[in-house]
Symmetry: C2
Subunit: 343 residues, 2 copies
DNA sequence: TGGACTTGTCAAAGCGGTTTGGAAAGAGAA
DNA sequence: TTCTCTTTCCAAACCGCTTTGACAAGTCCA
């Protein structure tokens, strides 16, 4: 059923029907009621593509997920983020188009999106230091929201991020307060902005107490279980092992736990661990009331929701000043931290 | 730049340009070359929506992800699956539109997709026993491929699935061969087809050796770390603990591992464990050469790729017989299995 | 040389909406 | 009564592409 047929059914012109459905003021209230009701009864819905073509609004948001060519790690955080965003989209009647793109060819995708106006805006995932995508999107004039941000505080674009510096500063303080001095940092790749900030938060907390950072206790790389395990194992078996770990993801923390178990060490007693927890739906940090790991916590699903809201806001009201949300992480105390062994 | 302008630039009619770009045979090879080259140089790309509208093909595939209303667990498998499918889509020039839908309101989404023809086909994720989506899609005449399948072998629809029965039969046999008799099964929710099949494979292997299944050693539920831990812990502390676990996901297996460690048991010695491994990119089963867990293995990313291929095949060649792929799982021996303690 | 076939190109009619620029009808004012 | 506004609706022009049917030019064969 198309508009013309449906309008014929009602004895109205397509124009009037379109306006009634679109909420325009030029139709009588009674007419509108008649139209919307008939639409429901006959199951009429305007064709998305036709509407998009005619109006210029795509009613769609693009998510571009970069994936490394070599060993494609899809950021697991992504599933939760997108499900948060998806809630907003469906309630606002936007579609979500997803592109999986191998690193580097993102340009092409963005350009195409902008050119064919196939989306009204995009979400930028996993921003990297010196990320080319952001200037590109600005140049293209395509509204966007970044999940995360870039170094240098005040670039004028929308983003939602957590206060990584503060979170890791607080986490480090916690460990320092417990008497730990040899603290290892297992971080994400340092070409990611969040990893740099976490490192900075860690470093400033350490130097704030006059404790030096041992470069041997720093790891930066893919935040996989295997890497967490490998790094922890190496450090713990080294000549001067850490008494505590500060870890950037729960997955990695699980690897650390494996390493400590293999070496007969007990978490929270022999070795302490604080991790960041994205509150992924399928990888809970233990039961609600008794967190497994002490953790800095912020829901990535909530971030997804917020990003979506901001983007739609920016799309519907062009010219709005950039919205920059920086969220505080909660610090939850779990079973993985305790006083330093020889404190 | 639109088609008319671009065609004007070349001194050709829009028709010819469209045909040249579309690969139709009615244009001279030289003309086609001239057109494609100019398109590249000027960065001309046909507007997707306009093309879709005119041709009736949406050039888009829909993925509908159900998410439970209560505590929305987004299947973590999904990220990898979709990245596999995404590869195919981008190489075949299809878009991927994603809908996150709360359980139950899927009908509406599918109907809308069919009605507005906003996608050419859909992928069905996480089929449940008696899933209403499949008859609905058949009724709507929308091409679809199911990742997984339904009970009752030969329903005529496309699917890609692993041979769950065989995989878990083999895994059980392995444990039985090692002398285990008290084997626990930690499974997914039994309203999922794959969980039933795995249970059947397990049960038939057990009864094939005359070993009875203890209902106290059966768990079925969300395949989370927490559930794996809880179930294992409960069973291991019970009066008649299992000597081996057969587990439906790596995440859950990690929970089991935690439980065994807490109780001072060593995996592969005091307790054995075989898990299914979806080869998720961010949750590797240890290093390549030394798997952590003994596992039945099948890449969900590969499944995503294959589903996408099949769907596109069905879309471009309507009337094709249903394609039903059933994949054999590999059984990889890791460090988590060993002879039964008192064997 | 002329008719039948190809081949390469084009004009124009959609696809299913939105939106602009009226027009008819009714209300109020002069 | 006539004129000017509103209000409510409509006809028609797009949006940018695909595709059908027609046509000119070229090829082949009789």
């Amino acid at each position: 059923m198309n508009l013309k047929e449906f309008a014929g059914l009602l004895g109205l012109s397509p124009t009037t029907v379109s306006r009634a459905l679109g909420g325009y003021p030029e139709v009588r209230e009674e007419t509108r009621r008649r139209v919307t009701e008939a639409a429901k009864r006959h199951g009429y819905r305007p064709n998305r593509r036709a509407a998009a073509l005619a109006s210029g609004r795509a009613m769609a948001i693009g998510h571009v997920i970069p994936t490394a060519l070599n060993q494609e790690v899809v950021n697991p955080v992504f599933a939760d983020f997108i499900s948060g965003a998806g809630e907003v989209y469906s309630s606002e009647n936007y579609d979500l188009t997803l592109s999986i793109v191998t690193d580097g060819s993102e340009d092409r995708v963005y350009r195409q999106m902008a050119q064919t106006r196939s989306v009204d805006g995009v979400i930028v995932h996993g921003p990297r230091i010196g990320d080319q995508r952001i200037p590109l999107l600005q140049e293209l004039g395509l509204p966007f929201v970044v999940h995360g941000r870039l170094p240098g505080e005040h670039a004028p674009f929308n983003f939602v991020d957590i206060d990584n510096i503060r979170a890791f500063h607080k986490a480090t303080d916690l460990l320092l307060d417990l008497g730990h001095r040899r603290i290892a940092l297992l971080n994400g790749n340092l070409d990611m902005d969040f990893a740099c900030r976490r490192r900075d938060g860690f470093a400033s907390a350490m130097s704030g107490r006059g404790v030096s950072v041992d470069p041997d206790l720093l790891f930066a790389g893919d935040m996989s279980e295997t890497n967490g395990h490998g790094a922890a194992r190496r450090m713990l078996e080294g000549p001067n092992p850490p008494t505590a770990f500060l870890v950037s993801s729960l997955t990695m923390a699980i690897g650390v736990r494996r390493a400590t178990h293999e070496l007969g060490l007990r978490l929270g007693q022999d070795v302490s661990l604080v991790t960041h927890d994205d509150v992924l739906s399928y990888l809970a940090n233990g039961p609600q009331d008794a967190p497994l790991f002490t953790a800095t916590r912020s829901s990535v699903r909530a971030a997804g929701r917020r990003c979506a809201e901001i983007l739609i806001e920016q799309i519907t009201r062009p010219g709005l000043a950039p919205i920059q949300d920086i969220w505080e992480c909660e610090l939850v105390i779990g079973a993985s931290t305790g006083p330093a062994p020889n404190a």
